[in-house]
């Protein structure tokens, strides 16, 4: 991320980097189903949200999919849970009996409009988040503060992490942070959560949730970040929909993950 920012900075020195909003003729694809489900090691209930795609120039309101049959199964202990919609028309479905336990494998099955979509995710062993600290990056004409997640990566196994950052109680939704120990197995990790869009200031209250996610979910988010590249030097030549762990062409993901969180005031 930072690398691309730097490249942009270099280009700006040589070039004018004129930026403007343009209106393009974009097709609107037929509405597709989007499923977002999770189960964690925190107390339930857990939710599954089902919605649909809209055209690029439509408002950011995504039609919920109601009346679907949603079933979550704990394959490890055999508990099958039939989810119900929180209220008719919300498209958000809630579990009743499922308990998230690390090491367990969960299956999500959604049936809507005579189509069936299934996904499986295994909740990894938990890794505790040690602490959060802050880094100051100067340059680009301003000082930027970013949170750093500090934790010990367990050696000998593949670990995948996702971070969710809250500033003064509000989740930063524009940036997705994932990390793989592919090049860091067994290390003590200081992972800087570089913020492209919002900045932290001294005195802000920052909370970081660290999830341990499985490989498919990591790949999903990694690809999602790649496909959403913004800026003059976007990251990939051919953006594509991230590979989902849900079958039958559904968009979205189903993630069984652990949660560890820390909170700190920016200093």
């Amino acid at each position: 991320m930072n690398y691309h920012k730097f490249i942009l900075f270099c280009a700006a020195l040589l070039a004018c980097s004129c930026k403007k909003t343009v209106t393009l003729k974009l097709n609107t694809a037929q509405a597709q189903i989007v499923i977002e489900g999770e189960v964690t090691d925190q107390p339930g209930p857990y939710t599954v949200a089902i919605s649909q795609t809209v055209g690029f120039y439509a408002d950011n309101t995504f039609p919920p999919v109601s009346g679907a049959s949603v079933i979550m199964t704990d394959n490890t202990n055999g508990v099958t849970d039939s989810l119900t919609e929180t209220a008719p028309g919300t498209g958000v479905y809630r579990t009743h009996e499922t308990v998230g336990v690390d090491g367990h494998t969960y299956t999500l099955s959604v049936t809507s409009q005579q189509q069936n979509y299934t996904a499986t995710s295994t909740m990894p062993m938990p890794v505790p988040l040690d602490s959060i600290s802050f880094s100051q990056l100067s340059g680009f004409g301003n000082k930027q503060i970013d949170a750093i997640a500090n934790f010990q990566d367990p050696a000998g196994i593949k670990n995948y992490y996702q971070f969710v950052e809250f500033v003064n109680g509000t989740q930063i939704t524009k940036d997705i942070f994932v990390f793989s120990d592919r090049l860091s197995d067994g290390r003590y990790i200081n992972e800087t959560l570089y913020n492209d869009t919002s900045y932290l200031f001294q005195g802000d209250d920052v909370k970081v949730n660290m999830y341990c996610i499985d490989e498919n979910v990591y790949n999903y988010f990694y690809q999602l970040i790649q496909s959403g590249g913004t800026g003059a030097f976007s990251t990939t030549a051919s953006p594509a929909n991230p590979t989902s762990n849900i079958s039958n062409g559904a968009l979205g993901y189903f993630s069984a993950h652990t949660v560890s969180s820390k909170e700190s005031v920016v200093y």
Binding site: F6, F9, C10, L13, L14, A15, C16, S17, C18, K19, T21, V22, L24, L26, N27, A29, Q32, V34, E36, S51, T53, V54, F56, Y57, A58, N60, F62, S135, L137, S138, G139, G141, Q171, T173, K174, I176, R182, L183, D185, G186, R187, Y188, N190, T192, Q226, S227, G228, G231, A232, F233, S234, A237, S238, P239, A240, N241, P242, T243, L251, Y253
Partner: protein
């Protein structure tokens, strides 16, 4: 092991010569006039000068890359005319009762003379020679074409030729006839240049002060070249003035150049050293921010060459290039990268008809990245390195027959990545295995004049690519997991790929000044650049063919009509081509290409095709010179995993591509020039919808490259003011304006949530260059 292979290749070569020999026999008593053609003023050898017996156009031969010519004729007295664009013709009276050696020195035509003298006998090789899809540029020709930042640049100038497409606004990257950027073989004094650009692609690695000759082959590629699919760009450096010492240079707004040359021993040896440095980053020093004012953003490069004549038959050359880019942000981030090449050449004239050149070549490209943030210190390095031996022989049998043959062996070492990390770093130190491979080839090429009308050129290149251990080679299942590991010891053969590459071209002369031509070329490629970003990155990595990655193969047929008019003052050509490509490489969704020992699991393989029509008209003499080039083309790819296995346009697919270049000599002082470029926008992947995931808006993609960028167009203007010219001192001022009407050509378009209205999403266009003015002062003494 190497030597047995070389022997085997030699045996194959002798066998091939045996096949060709019936064509080479001649009965009459014949003699040869041979020698070297030079520029009288500097002693620089002239490449591609024409030598012909007066009134016998079929006898025409051209000087080779070292200025050597050899013309063979039946015993008798002849008048021989030697000509070269921009020089006065020379006429030799030769009495061929034995082999004779004549050194020819041509004197440069004065600007005002040029029109008269040069037009008297202009060369029509473009019509008569069978080779097609070839473009030759001399530095003289490019010096007046306006370019961005006022920096003369051969890579940007060739983008104005038909069939050659720009890599993007201000970019030195280029695509030839539907090929990718890595499918161009770019040679500097025979050494492969792995990254031909500086500063993120905005400058080329070629300092035109040190360049003598540039030839681009995009259609019929002679058999002596191999290793890349789409084109060969053969760049030759100046040898240096053997008569006099000279200093020249230029001062520009963002870069300066200096060039020193002179004799080592008058008429027998010379040297040239040429250096450049950009200083765009001096502005950073003005910043108050300590991290910013300690930042760097510059490149420098040095070209150096020396040559020495060892008697009449031997000549040695030593040339080298070293370039380095340095980009850094304080001490938090650093990236440096560069090419270095070295070439040692030995020309030997066995006899008046057999010319030999032996080259020993070194080439390396490497990069270093360093990141320091908090206690997270890591460095990443990577390189590709070649040791290369090449032997080329040119046998000038007679004026109807010429045979080129030779062998070459290249040892490639690629290091895809080494990570160094401090003890407190979040990353483990890691060294990916280096890969070792040897590319060997033997070739033969026969140019044959069958009649006054028919010329053919046919050849064969036999290439063997061998991947050696030590190393672990993985086999992957369909989902990309390594299922088997084969470990090879040092020197053990992992894989052999043998490829025969036939090359054929012919011309049929319709009239004195028009012809039709046909060509077929097969090319193969065993080194592949992994790059899945829109802009070419200095950190892209080259990998050799392996057990998983197969050699890329391309077959191209082309045909064309060539016509010159007004005593060769005008050139016109129309060519059509079709190219089919196998084993093309693309990347899986979200491919992880950096520091990945299983990187081959991230690749997908497919096919490609490209076809098009190229029109070219050029006015070569007069006060107004220039050209118009138009390409109508289609470039497509097909991958099983993309767009339901159907053909789709490649990124660089551009239906229309038009360039107009005009240079006008207003008077003795002022030269005005301009160029206009228009092309269809690239094929791009844009969203066809959106959805919400993880609380943020994500975009829905339906089809790869299903949309088009807006068309690109631009006008550049330039004016050169010639200073007072004396024997001792010559200078000029160049003023140029890139993108004169300030069009915001989109460099990229990205999609995001509207910051002003979170309920909406918007498309944001980035344009890089509007009205880039520049001033350069050039001097010479």
């Amino acid at each position: 092991m190497l030597t047995t292979r070389t022997l085997r290749l030699q045996r194959a070569l002798v066998f091939l010569l045996g096949i060709f020999s019936p064509f080479l026999l001649s009965a009459q008593v014949r003699h040869t006039v041979s020698g070297t053609i030079r520029d009288q003023s500097s002693g620089e050898t002239l490449i591609g000068a024409s030598v012909a017996i007066l009134n016998h156009p079929r006898s025409t031969v051209q000087s080779n890359s070292y200025g050597f010519y050899s013309l063979n004729a039946a015993a008798g007295k002849y008048t021989i005319v030697v000509s070269f664009a921009g020089f006065r013709n020379d006429t030799l009276e030769v009495s061929l009762d034995k082999d004779v050696v004549i050194a020819v020195n041509l004197s440069p035509a004065e600007a005002e003379m040029q029109e008269v003298v040069v037009s008297a006998n202009r060369n029509n090789a473009n019509v008569t020679k069978p080779l097609m899809g070839v473009q030759k540029l001399s530095v003289n020709e490019i010096k007046d074409v306006p370019v961005i930042f006022g920096e003369k640049d051969i890579l940007k100038t060739i983008q104005l030729l038909p069939g050659v497409q720009s890599g993007g606004d201000g970019s030195s990257g280029f695509y030839v006839r539907g090929g990718s950027v890595d499918q161009n073989l770019i040679l500097l004094d025979e050494a492969t240049v792995y990254n031909p650009t500086h500063l993120l692609g905005f400058f080329s690695t070629f300092n035109s002060d040190a360049i003598k000759d540039v030839t681009l082959y995009k259609g019929a590629i002679p058999a002596e070249y191999g290793g890349r699919l789409a084109s060969v760009l053969d760049v030759r450096m100046d040898d240096g003035n053997v008569k006099d010492y000279g200093v020249s240079g230029g001062l520009g707004l963002i870069s300066s150049r200096l060039n020193i040359q002179g004799p080592i021993e008058k008429d027998d040896g010379s040297f040239i050293v040429s250096a450049r440095r950009t200083y765009a980053d001096i502005f950073l020093k003005l910043s108050k921010d300590t991290n910013t004012n300690r930042s760097s953003l510059y490149f420098y490069d040095i070209n150096a060459k020396a040559n020495y004549k060892l008697g009449d038959k031997d000549h040695i050359f030593l040339s080298g290039y070293f370039g380095k880019d340095n980009l850094g942000l304080g001490n938090t981030f650093g990236l440096d990268y560069g090419n270095s090449t070295g070439t040692f050449r030995w020309n030997h004239i066995f006899n008046s008809r057999l010319f030999s050149n032996t080259s020993l070549i070194y080439s390396k490209y490497n990069y270093n990245v360093s990141v320091n943030s908090g206690n997270n210190n890591i460095g990443i390095t990577s390189f590709v390195r070649d040791y290369h031996l090449k032997e080329d022989l040119q046998y000038f049998v007679n004026s109807d027959n010429k045979v080129n043959f030779g062998i070459e062996v290249i040892q490639h070492t690629t290091s895809p990545g080494v990570i160094s990390a401090s003890g407190t770093s979040s990353f483990n130190p890691l060294a990916l295995e280096q890969r070792y491979s040897v590319e060997s080839a033997a070739y033969i090429d026969h140019s044959l004049s069958l009649s006054d009308k028919v010329n053919i050129d046919y050849g064969l290149r036999a290439g063997l690519f061998t991947v050696f251990g030590p190393g672990s080679f993985y086999t992957y299942d369909s989902s990309g997991n390594a299922v088997d590991t084969a470990t090879y010891g040092s020197g053990q053969v992992v894989r052999n790929y043998f490829n025969l590459e036939p090359r054929f071209s012919m011309s049929y002369r319709l009239t004195d000044n028009s012809s039709i031509k046909f060509a077929y070329t097969r090319t193969t490629q065993n080194l592949h650049l992994l790059s899945n970003s829109t802009s070419s990155n200095p950190t892209d990595v080259w990998i050799p063919s392996s057990n998983n990655v197969k050699p890329e193969i391309a077959d191209q047929v082309s045909t064309g009509y060539f016509r010159n008019a007004d005593n060769n003052a005008y050139e016109f050509s129309a060519e059509v081509y079709y190219r089919y490509m196998q084993n093309q490489i693309d990347y899986k969704n979200g491919a992880q290409l950096i520091a990945n020992e299983y990187v081959e699991s991230q690749l997908i393989y497919g096919i490609g095709r490209a076809y098009g029509l190229e029109l070219f008209a050029k006015k070569k003499v007069g006060r107004m010179t220039g050209w118009v080039s138009y390409t109508l083309s289609r470039t497509e790819r097909r991958f099983g995993q993309v767009n339901d296995d159907s053909w789709y346009p490649a990124n660089q697919d551009r239906t229309h591509d038009l360039s107009v270049v005009g240079i006008y000599k207003l008077n003795k002082k002022w030269t005005l020039s301009g160029d206009f470029v228009y092309y269809t926008g690239n094929a791009v992947t844009w969203p066809s919808g959106k959805y919400e995931v993880n609380g943020q808006v994500a975009f829905l993609y339906i089809k790869r490259n299903g949309y088009r960028m807006p068309p690109y167009n631009r006008l550049d203007l330039s004016a050169t003011l010639q200073g007072k010219k004396t024997k001792k001192f010559d200078s000029n001022w160049n003023f140029s304006l890139y993108n004169a009407y300030g069009r915001e050509n989109p460099y990229s378009i990205s999609f995001q949530q509207d910051p002003g209205n979170p309920a909406k999403t918007e498309a944001v266009q980035y344009a890089l260059f509007r009205w880039v003015p520049s001033v350069t002062y050039n001097f010479k003494f």
